[in-house]
């Protein structure tokens, strides 16, 4: 160890600089510096750039569209993440009890992750239209039709496409967490005569706490990507139940309301920073164990 550090530190340092600096320069140029610029702009007026203090923040905070977008995004996260995390755990455990077919079923669940959203946009439209296939099926079953695109049900369309896309990804992470539980834990429990239900609740679940924590945070961050499906299916002005932050940003963007975008962006970053802080703590805990 010591020898390495003494032998040619200068070569190593210049090497490190050559390797790392191009990327760091890009990150500074395309992310960090402009983010600082946005923070500055969030305290300035859009035209002229006068210092206006917290005025932009107040405008955004009192903006109805912003409140709608934030509450929809929050509602979406609160509904989807627990469902996704819970259902995928049940599925992962279920699949693992069937080793003969587990590989194929896992592939099927993971496949939607590879499907470009645009490739299935026509399918979503045909499924969720008022005269579409889902409603057709509902009619055949003697039920009432649902206005999937123009009512609160639009929100559920988002939920379905989010689950469709993300179940496989989450299951892979659960499987990784499950395989990290030492086999000896299970054996010890079996020797003590525990039933499979007891083993699940007293050994499997507690050992998955770290994975669950990470999964929740990652799923929350991933849920911002559901805008793709919303936009593809419903365009710039969807039903208000699925009006998300990205819609609002795009609309402000078109109207060149850069002061509002800056302030809203800073507010979002703060929330996300908090989430990331939680994720870091989870990771550190994992490493510590």
């Amino acid at each position: 160890m010591k020898k390495r550090k003494c032998s040619h530190p200068n070569i190593q340092w210049s090497m490190a600089a050559v390797f790392l600096l191009p990327h760091m320069a890009g990150v500074l140029c395309f992310a960090l510096l402009p983010m600082v610029q946005v923070v500055v702009r969030s305290f300035q007026s859009a035209v002229g750039g006068n210092w206006v203090g917290l005025k932009n923040y107040l405008t955004v905070w009192n903006n109805d569209a912003f409140r709608l977008a934030v509450s929809n995004t929050a509602k979406f996260i609160l509904v989807c993440v627990p469902v996704l995390v819970g259902v995928s755990l049940i599925l992962t455990v279920g699949i693992q009890s069937l080793p003969a077919v587990s590989k194929h079923i896992r592939s099927i669940f993971l496949m939607p992750m590879a499907i470009p959203a645009a490739s299935v946009v026509l399918v979503w439209k045909a499924l969720f239209h008022d005269n579409g296939l889902l409603n057709h099926a509902l009619l055949n079953m003697g039920a009432d039709t649902v206005a999937w695109m123009d009512s609160g049900a639009a929100f559920w369309m988002l939920v379905i496409s989010y689950l469709w896309k993300n179940l496989g990804y989450t299951m892979v992470l659960w499987a990784a967490g499950l395989s990290a539980i030492p086999q000896s834990c299970y054996e010890a429990a079996q020797v003590d005569g525990a039933t499979s239900r007891q083993i699940f609740f007293w050994i499997t679940l507690p050992n998955l706490k770290g994975t669950a924590y990470i999964l929740v945070v990652l799923s929350v961050l991933n849920s911002f990507k559901v805008f793709r499906e919303a936009w593809l299916v419903a365009g710039d002005y969807p039903d208000q139940s699925m009006y998300l932050l990205q819609h609002l940003y795009n609309n402000w963007f078109r109207e060149l309301d850069f002061d509002k975008i800056a302030a809203a962006g800073v507010m979002c970053s703060v929330v996300i920073l908090l989430l990331i802080g939680m994720l870091r703590r989870a990771w550190d805990k994992e490493d510590g164990e």
Partner: protein
């Protein structure tokens, strides 16, 4: 008792699998349906009335017509397909050149303030596009890159997610191997080229797959940074399809789907490794 339980689990999983495959099946069969059949089945979507759309499990008269039409006589499709290819290839090449060395440096070379750099990279990697959109727009505007494909490629090349992932893969290479090479007199450049790259290759592949799937599917970035329609990738064009072009729409959607699915089927193992690593476990 146990076999009954297993049977129930299997049945439930099979039903779900069918539901999950259905939209994909729908998209694929659509590409092999004739235009008149699509119009007959889907016209209720475009008119106000009581009639309901239908979709047969298999097209009544399967045909390659739409696919041939898209491939042979629609220059518009080719230019958009090419834009998608150019964006994905540009991002992948850029990441190969810039991100791999950076990841190696963070994993294996002495860097002052390494921990702080990594923390900053993780924070940036987790920021959603909603947060990065306006900052990126300002830079791209300053550099006069807006409305060029570079506006989509460059921010993705300098994203921090691939670097973070690759750094984790490189860290997993045993220190003894590198020490041994050093004792044999190998320089740092050689160690990277002859030990780091070959041993890290599975990791590079995992990250490349994740990058490709993401860049092939980009929507927000081209939508915000590209005004000229001739620069648009396929993903922005497909939502604009109306009934008279349905056949071509489905055919184009299938052609966009094929590269992603082929990659998925052949490299699923690497994809799963990449995902597992993104959760911070290995």
């Amino acid at each position: 008792m146990k076999t009954v339980k297993k049977g129930v689990v299997l049945a439930a999983l099979l039903v779900l699998s069918v539901l999950i495959c259905y939209p994909i099946w729908f998209a694929v069969t659509g590409a092999f349906s004739s235009q008149w059949e699509l119009e007959e089945n889907l016209s209720p979507l475009f008119s106000i009335g009581q009639e309901m759309a239908a979709w047969p499990l298999l097209p009544e008269a399967p045909t390659l017509r739409s696919l041939v039409e898209v491939l042979l006589d629609s220059p518009g499709f080719f230019s958009m397909f090419w834009n998608s290819v150019a964006i994905s290839a540009g991002i992948l090449l850029g990441q190969l050149l810039v991100d791999i060395p950076a990841a190696w440096a963070l994993a294996r070379l002495p860097i002052p303030g390494k921990k702080a750099i990594l923390t900053a990279y993780i924070v940036l990697m987790l920021m959603p596009f909603q947060v990065m959109m306006f900052p990126q727009y300002l830079v791209l505007d300053d550099l006069h890159l807006l409305d060029t494909l570079w506006a989509v490629i460059l921010p993705a090349v300098f994203s921090t997610f691939p670097v973070f992932m690759l750094h984790r893969f490189f860290q997993a290479i045993p220190q003894e191997i590198i020490e041994a090479a050093r004792l044999d007199g190998a320089g740092e450049g050689r160690i990277f080229l002859w030990i780091g790259l070959p041993l890290g290759a599975p990791g590079v592949l995992s990250v490349a797959i994740l990058t490709f799937l993401d860049s092939w599917n980009l929507i927000e970035q081209p939508m915000t940074y590209l005004k000229t329609k001739s620069l648009w990738p396929l993903s922005l064009f497909l939502p604009e399809i109306t009934l008279p072009d349905m056949g071509m729409g489905f055919a184009a959607a299938l052609l966009m789907l094929i590269p992603a699915l082929l990659l998925f089927w052949n490299c699923q193992e690497y994809l799963e490794r990449g995902i597992a690593l993104s959760g911070g476990k290995e």
